[in-house]
């Protein structure tokens, strides 16, 4: 697209099958293969689903505020908590991490795009189709109602008669394909496309964590795919996989689900770890303490994460030996996690801490995640876990980990990278309000759940009863009410962020090129970056390359002296821009292919003819893709002279 020697409008003579080169307006977004545009689209869609999932959570808390709640029926409540979890995990957390990864990973390693730009677009569109299919079920007979873990046999056709589970299975399959393609793409990008000089141990920690996450996805997604396929065959084609009267074992589902499900937990949290491992050093003006330890602890969390799945099943009747082994493995995983927390604290130790909004959220993560981690250790003790599992204590634990950990990390990322992506600063004052409301709301919502759980209130109950509430300080009534009030404070906190975004968008003032005195390569270009990211591919000599181009350390006194400003470095790059940069062209095929896949999926619910149509579209678009070169050819363009003979192009390649 940046090729200036080619004519700029797409060939009219090819009619409807012309290639979308140099598109404008909405087409520019619909057919784009640019990792930055896709990253922004990922972010917008994921945030929308965050709001949807949040509203579902508020409904749940409203229902539970008082005993025998009547806001939702039992059926609607079951759908609500199922979809809340599914939405937050698959439609918010994973794609939001994908948004950050898509946008910043090529920038951090000094690449012009990801390895497979069209596959990248396909990932996004597949994720969107998956999300829409999942949520379409609300309007087509009711959403899935078996919990996000969807244990068999409760997910079978008799026990969950609406189409909700079918939509859920399909939505997750499609979103799963999206993640799988995305993860292969990002791994190849990181391994193959780093800037010269950037060895693996000079890579930013965010990139490292994303790399670990993608490996987790590549090896865990096929397992859930198998589980979902078995469930789909049972529901739609009468297979017997979870039919106990045929001798089936319901624990098969649990094993398959959690072999995926536990690595998934790290898929959710590691990107946030990566983000704050960028933010904490930047705002402490110190490199990350123990970089190799943080990297290896991340990798070992990922590895051990594959060996602890059965700690979700301590009550399901595994033998004592398995329970003991998984209990020990679970404790073992606490060690690398602890290492990370210590390293973050030691990064700040001796630093020069600037409490910006991004830094506040990052510190919020360190503190809140530690609470979640410690409550996690209490149920690594398997016997103790048999009292806690499936109670609100677990809900408290994983919300501290996922909300206090992951969401705070993502918000830290929003504040840190907003000027990079949009060229404008988010308002720091509103950011502070946003932070405090979220911290207070989050602790009021999830803190009391520790008490509720230890007092014996199970999860997933559409009502709780006075008769089992007890009295005094620990009574369920009071703490349920506190938790519900807290959830609305939390919602107000998120609202502050939305207001901040709206305000910032209206603001005309441009952000400085290096507002945070940052450390990594993504700041070595304009904000927002140009289509081709870097005018010149940087050559890397240090971890935190950008910082070391700005500051020089005195060998003896260790005093840091600033030798250049970020702005000047960016200008210098612009002046030395490469002459001839080819970028991949936009394409219809990713969008069309994902539509085909969605139609194919719908066919499983609504009948074979629709499936056939979907399959034809999939075949057509995948071969159309194969036959289309990634960079546009001369025939795709109109010649600049509008003399009416543009169709007769002599050379057809």
């Amino acid at each position: 697209m940046a090729t200036n020697e080619l004519p700029i409008s797409s060939s009219q003579s090819l009619g409807a099958v012309r290639r979308p080169v140099n598109t404008k307006g909405w087409r520019e977004w619909l057919f784009t293969v640019d990792h930055k545009k896709l990253g922004i689209m990922y972010g917008c869609v994921a945030f929308t689903f965050f709001i949807v999932g949040g509203i579902e959570a508020l409904f749940i808390r409203l229902q539970l505020a008082l005993p025998d709640g009547r806001i939702l029926s039992a059926d609607k409540y079951n759908q609500m908590f199922t979809m809340h979890a599914t939405t937050m995990i698959f439609l918010f957390a994973m794609p939001m991490a994908a948004a950050f990864a898509n946008y910043f990973l090529p920038l951090q390693i000094g690449a012009r795009d990801v390895a497979f730009p069209r596959l990248n677009a396909l990932s996004f569109w597949l994720f969107l189709s998956g999300g829409l299919i999942l949520n379409a079920s609300w309007f087509l007979g009711g959403a899935a109602d078996g919990g996000w873990f969807m244990y068999a046999p409760n997910s079978g056709p008799v026990f969950s008669p609406s189409n909700g589970v079918d939509f859920w299975v399909l939505g997750l399959q499609i979103a799963g394909i999206a993640s799988l393609i995305g993860s292969i793409n990002l791994i190849v990008t990181v391994l193959n496309m780093r800037a010269p000089g950037m060895t693996l141990m000079k890579m930013p920690v965010f990139t490292w964590m994303i790399l670990v996450v993608q490996f987790l996805l590549v090896f865990s997604l096929p397992v859930i795919t198998v589980a979902l396929v078995l469930l789909m065959f049972q529901r739609s084609y009468g297979a017997t996989f979870f039919d106990v009267s045929q001798g089936a074992d319901p624990l098969l589902w649990q094993h398959l689900f959690w072999i995926f499900g536990h690595p998934e937990v790290y898929v959710l949290i590691l990107p946030a770890f990566g983000i704050i491992s960028e933010v904490l050093p930047t705002f402490s003006r110190k490199p990350l303490f123990g970089y190799p330890f943080v990297v290896f602890s991340g990798a070992s969390i990922g590895l051990v994460g594959f060996g602890v799945w059965a700690h979700h099943m301590f009550a399901s009747g595994l033998g004592p030996v398995s329970v003991a082994v998984f209990s020990m493995a679970t404790m073992a995983i606490a060690i690398p996690t602890g290492v990370k927390i210590f390293n973050w604290l030691l990064t700040m130790w001796g630093g020069k801490i600037w409490y910006s909004a991004a830094m506040k959220f990052a510190i919020g993560l360190v503190v809140l995640f530690t609470i979640g981690g410690l409550s996690g250790v209490t149920h690594a003790v398997a016997p103790s876990d048999t009292q806690q599992t499936d109670t609100y204590y677990i809900v408290a634990h994983f919300h501290y980990v996922l909300f206090g950990g992951m969401v705070f990390g993502l918000f830290s990322g929003f504040y840190y990278w907003w000027p990079k992506v949009f060229g404008k600063m988010l308002n720091e004052k509103l950011g502070t309000w946003n932070f405090w409301f979220m911290v207070i709301g989050m602790n009021l919502t999830f803190g009391p759940m520790h008490i509720l759980g230890l007092q014996g209130q199970p999860r997933r109950m559409y009502v709780w009863t006075e008769a089992r509430a007890g009295e005094g300080f620990f009574n369920l009534g009071f703490w349920n009410m506190v938790s519900s009030i807290g959830s609305f404070i939390l919602a107000v906190g998120v609202l502050f962020f939305i207001i901040n975004v709206i305000k910032t968008t209206r603001n005309k003032e441009r952000a400085p090129l290096d507002p945070w005195d940052a450390r990594t390569l993504e700041w070595l270009t304009t904000s927002p970056p140009k289509v081709h990211n870097f005018d010149r591919i940087p050559v890397v000599h240090h971890l935190d390359e950008f910082f070391h181009r700005k500051y020089v350390e005195d060998e003896t006194t260790h005093v840091m002296t600033q030798v250049a400003k970020g702005e000047d470095l960016v200008r210098a790059e612009e002046a030395a821009a490469d002459a001839d940069i080819h970028m991949p062209g936009a394409s219809y095929w990713p969008l069309l292919l994902s539509i085909g896949v969605a139609v194919l999926g719908m066919g499983i619910i609504y009948g074979t003819p629709i499936m056939v149509v979907g399959a034809l579209v999939v075949l057509f678009s995948s071969f159309g893709w194969v036959l289309e070169p990634s960079v546009p050819e001369p025939i795709d363009f109109d010649s600049p002279s509008h003399d009416g003979h543009t169709k007769e192009i002599a050379s057809l390649g």
């Binding site: 409760n154 303490f289 409490y355 016997p383 014996g456």
Partner: protein, 405 residues
């Protein structure tokens, strides 16, 4: 310390608890906890777990306090006060190694205790009594196989309330007829899933007579929240009395009574799903219920000796009215046996809920019993349907049920 279950208005309770919050934070955790409190063991198995809890929770607390103190000091000490940009040190491996070894050591200690606890809890060798526990949407069935040493010579079957003798090592053989449920009486042991097609073992033992609350804790569909259970520990003598009563033969109500008419209604309606052992049809042949033809999961609670239980409909409702119920729940360990064995008398019956249930069960508890929506289950109910009984029929039935003691 007894479990108190006085029902008061919620506003009163909230006001009460705010007062407690302000004044009595340090005295918290005493006499007024919820009946499913996980920190109040009442038997050996729960005690094993509680001992572990007392190791790991304080340990996590201490670690937490240390880390947060260090963090808070760091946040305060190294705030940007205009100091120069610090030296770009990348860390000290020795610190890292120490910080890896310390948690590893702590966790090894915890691990040793955990290991012991796991194997202690899984021991079933010295079991003294076996009970089959079967979960079904949304109630629990208990059947006691014949065990002469416990005074059970013919199988006993009951539901809603588990009755066990104190000081006896009881083994529950859990399974399920439909989806996965989970059996949990926090005062007696941790939870164990009831998985269809599998038999999971859970050992309970109660130290003193008493009533213990529990709740199904594996999500099991629509009425998961309403699938409750209770366990009653009786002294060995009281248990023998209870068991003897359960094995007593059925006696039909006297001719001409309202209850006799109720038996007719029962034979007309309820027998389709609910078995009463020993009940005979008008022609003298045994009346066998056929729940497998009407209920998807294949069973409905057996109503023999119904009035010896204190709850019905998956323990969601009480058979005793409020006064009589708190009389049983609040009784001292010495007195509870006699009060429980008294069963439900006409004056103590919670007639309101029972009649409402007979009038229209699905309105009282969400179930899949709308006859127009039974396609996926092959026309079978999941739960009790509305039988369309008249008020007279209900009168008769209640009179009849009261005779099932």
């Amino acid at each position: 310390m007894d479990i108190v279950n006085n029902v008061k208005s919620s506003s009163h309770r909230i006001r009460n608890s705010i007062a407690t919050l302000v004044g009595l934070v340090f005295l918290a955790g005493c006499a007024t906890n919820a009946p499913q409190d996980t920190w109040q063991p009442r038997g050996d198995n729960a005690q094993v777990i509680n001992n572990l809890q007392w190791i790991i929770f304080p340990m996590a607390g201490v670690v937490g306090v240390l880390v947060f103190a260090f963090a808070a000091y760091t946040f305060w000490k190294f705030k940007d006060r205009g100091q120069p940009i610090p030296s770009q040190s990348h860390g000290k491996p020795i610190v890292e190694i120490i910080l890896t070894i310390i948690p590893a050591l702590i966790l090894t200690v915890v691990g040793v205790f955990t290991f012991r606890g796991i194997f202690e809890l899984s021991n079933t060798e010295d079991t003294q009594m076996v009970i089959n526990v079967t979960g079904q949407q949304w109630w629990w069935e208990y059947d006691y196989p014949a065990q002469a040493e416990q005074g059970i010579t013919q199988p006993i079957i009951t539901s809603g309330q588990l009755v066990i003798p104190v000081g006896t090592k009881v083994l529950l053989r859990e399974t399920s007829r439909d989806v996965i449920h989970s059996y949990w009486i926090p005062a007696l042991n941790g939870k164990k899933d009831a998985v269809p097609g599998r038999i999971n073992l859970l050992r309970l033992q109660a130290d003193k007579p008493g009533l213990f609350a529990g709740q199904c804790t594996e999500f099991c569909g629509l009425s998961h929240a309403n699938m409750r259970m209770e366990a009653i520990a009786l002294s060995k003598e009281d248990f023998a009395k209870w068991a003897a009563n359960q094995q007593k033969a059925y006696t039909s109500p006297a001719d001409g009574t309202l209850a006799k008419e109720g038996e007719g209604v029962f034979l007309n309606q309820c027998i389709r799903c609910h078995q009463v052992n020993g009940l005979k049809k008008a022609d003298g042949t045994p009346a066998l219920a056929a729940p497998d033809e009407n209920v998807y999961s294949g069973a409905a609670p057996n109503l023999s000796h119904l009035m010896t239980r204190n709850t019905f409909a998956g323990a969601k409702f009480d058979l005793l009215n409020k006064t009589c119920r708190s009389d049983v729940w609040d009784a001292s360990p010495e007195a509870i046996g006699a009060k429980y064995l008294a069963g439900v008398s006409e004056s103590c019956l919670n007639a309101t809920d029972l009649r409402a249930w007979l009038r229209n069960a699905p309105a009282m508890k969400p179930m899949y019993s709308d006859p127009t929506k039974l396609g996926p289950s092959g026309g079978k109910y999941r739960g009790m349907p509305n039988l369309g009984l008249t008020e007279t029929d209900i009168d008769k039935l209640v009179a009849y049920l009261l005779t099932l003691k």
